[in-house]
Amino acid sequence: MSKAHYRKLAFLTAVVLMLCTTGIAQALSLPKVESHDLVSEGSRLRVSGPDAYITFEPYRSESSGRFLLLNLHIENLPDNLDAVPFELFFSALSPAPHAKTNDLVFDPRYRVRLSVARPELQSGETWFAVPLPDDRPPSSQLRLDFERCADCSIEVLSHPKVVLSAPDDMTIAKITRIYNGVNKLDKEGLTLPLTNWELHDMEGDLRSLSVTGLDPFMTSPVIDISTKDLAGIAVTLSRTQVANSDYLDFQLFYATEHHGFRADASALVRVKAQTSNQYRFFIPLNHLSEEQPADHIVERIRFDFLPEESANLWRIKAVKAINKAQMADYQTLTPPQILINKQQRAGKRQLLVNVMKKIINDLAFTLFYLLLLASTAVLFWRRFKI
């Protein structure tokens, strides 16, 4: 073979090698994601259900990477959406031994709520970085949920990657909330701080509150309490002026990982106005973990004062999350007039247990009632046998 032939052969080999290398690189860079409530349309994913998300195993450049790099292109976003919300779950749970599906389950206690400006997802450079919490649990799998994106068409342009630091010119997603575990209650419960509460139609601080409007309430900072051992919330407060109504109503709202503050997730208590103006009561929340659908985290609580016709003055002395182990001590502080609005329902067995507990709770009546049934049966039977 002549030199020219060798050159041609070398050139062709180089071209083939180049093509192969490029192909492999391209093949390697193809994102590998699993999807839920999304249908594949070529390289795109179209939202097809209410719970659209992708799960993936990111490339890791650093074992303790602090940023997740995502390259997404999203079309058909709602017109009024300037910042696109996402939720990133970063702790996959081991599948249960008898799980019916192979879908990964992600722990709702470990997630990041974030948003990205709309233009970043639709034109030009579509990479953005999501800061990840330090000291997060190890997990090879991540899940990205698409919020408020009912008609979206999504293209994952590159495989997600975890890196130690984000490039300087890269957009950093705005983090609206980080969940990195929960506060577990020890056997003594947890006294909530009385600082950083948000006030509505009230002014001052919790040790000296004055009502300024018709809808006074105070909202706690993020508390992220695990419901696993949560028995309820105990509140101690006093009124620094004489009550002008016979009864006082208070309402406790609780926001969980599933919902914000809403009327059907609240407890209303009515207490008699005391001449001492000292109030201490306990509001049970044990149903959150014991009934279905369970809530795992109480993120915040809100305490409403009803009705407040006049400018009243209040002093919050303590707000405490009570452990189930303390239930017996606090049960007596539950006001007789309490109305618990809840989204949970007890299962058949739990419902039966709850019913029996409620009946036995009035022990004197239960004994009387059983005696009445037994004596009635005996009386009629004896009369029948004569």
Partner: protein
């Protein structure tokens, strides 16, 4: 060889089972109406306003007496029955929620229903005395004690219909014994229990006529009875203000319809009003035509038919069906074969209300005293819409069909009551 039960053994066995059944239901079920009723009663006891012309004074005073006695056993927290505005005395779900969650809720329900229980047994006694034939008597008592309609109305829904029915049964018994004055008084008292009883007034007066007597004497009897009933009917409205009573304690001034009994009767919803008028007028003629029969028989038969006409064309609440029970049962005394229509009526009533219920009247909402988790459960129309309606018969059509069938069953009842007297057989 086993001997059949004698009358005493039968009564003891039936009563024993019935009493136990009632005790098992009493503390655990209720509709919000029962709580509203006793909120008014406790308000009166608390305020000492005993001479208010409440909606149904007889029922009201009976309930008040029991509530007053119950205070010896129950320490009702004032907040629970607090009624800031008596003109808005129907309890909200929030107020009812407080009541349901009260640790003593089972005591309250048991005590609230005690007067109903006693009057219920009183009706048994009336039936026992009214029906002469031992076999017929047993059938009548069994129908009363174990029919699902009065059990539901009294012990599950928690309404006072049995008090009204007791006075009607007592009226019939007095007529049977020719104690016309006692019958007049008892009938007038029944009018203070339920406005519907006004429907029977013409037939009661017609039943007092004795066609063997001179017309002048009959005129006197009917006139005297009318005056007696009218006086007893209007007595509270006349007397209570003189005793310092406030006539409008629980009357909502913003309510559009009147509190007057006659207006209430007319303001009830009718599917079709004119057949009711035609039917009742024809019934009056029939009452005249059977003038040779005994007073009590005429009263019982015509009152039963009046109700069949009324319920055939009327929109009614679930527990009002209890009104339909007493007169057909008393008709057994006159060899009327009412067992089969009674069974069919009970079944139709259950199906109709399973379909027609809202969230509270025929659902597990009534078990909410046991656990508030029952609220929202057992709503049959939801199940129907999910499983049956997609196959072609929508809920509205199903309700209309059941209403039509209910009318047919009223006709069946009427046919059996109007039939010539025959021997009663269990169907």
């Amino acid at each position: 060889m086993q001997r059949p039960l004698n009358n005493r053994q039968f009564l003891v066995l039936a009563l024993g089972a019935a009493v136990l059944l009632r005790f098992l239901l009493m503390p655990f079920f209720a509709h919000v109406d029962l709580f509203s009723e006793y909120r008014r009663v406790y308000y009166v006891l608390e305020q000492g306003l005993y001479f208010d012309n409440a909606h149904r004074p007889i029922v009201y005073y009976i309930e008040m007496l029991f509530a007053w006695v119950s205070k010896l056993f129950v320490d009702a927290p004032p907040a629970l029955f607090d009624l800031p505005d008596p003109t808005q005395s129907v309890a909200s779900l929030t107020d009812y929620g407080f009541f349901l969650n009260d640790p003593q809720v089972f005591r309250y329900l048991f005590i609230f229903k005690l007067p109903y229980f006693l009057f219920d047994l009183g009706v048994v006694w009336m039936i026992w005395k009214f029906v002469d034939n031992p076999t017929h008597r047993k059938i009548a008592v069994l129908l009363w004690l174990f029919n699902p309609v009065t059990l539901f109305a009294t012990y599950i829904f928690g309404r006072f219909e049995v008090i009204s029915l007791f006075f009607l049964a007592a009226t019939a018994l007095q007529l049977k014994h020719d104690n016309n004055l006692s019958a007049c008084i008892l009938f007038a008292l029944s009018l203070h229990c339920r406005e519907i009883n006004l429907l029977f007034a013409p037939f009661f007066l017609l039943a007092l006529i004795d066609f063997k007597d001179a017309w002048l004497r009959n005129l006197f009897v009917v006139g005297f009875a009318s005056i007696t009933i009218a006086v007893i009917l209007i007595l509270p409205s006349w007397l209570w203000p003189k005793l310092g009573g406030d006539l409008s304690l629980f009357v909502d001034p913003r309510a559009t319809h009147s509190n007057d009994a006659f207006n209430k009767l007319l303001s009830l919803g009718y599917y079709w009003f004119y057949p009711v008028i035609i039917g009742l007028a024809s019934l009056a003629i029939y009452a005249w035509e059977i003038g040779d029969r005994a007073h009590a028989e005429r009263f019982v038969i015509t009152s039963a038919i009046a109700l069949f006409i009324y319920f055939g064309f009327n929109v009614h609440s679930v527990h009002y069906a209890a009104w339909l029970t007493i007169f057909p049962i008393l008709c057994i005394q006159y060899q009327k074969r009412v067992v089969l229509p009674f069974v069919v009526f009970s079944a139709a009533w259950i199906i109709l209300w399973l379909l027609k219920t809202d969230g509270g009247v025929f659902t597990l909402f009534l078990a909410a005293p046991l656990s508030s988790d029952f609220i929202g459960m057992g709503y049959f129309p939801g199940w129907y819409n999910q499983h049956i309606a997609p196959r072609g018969l929508d809920l509205h059509q199903a309700i209309q069909i059941m209403r039509a069938l209910f009318l047919v069953i009223m006709g069946f009842f009427a046919y059996r009551v109007l039939q010539r007297n025959t021997e009663v057989r269990t169907s």
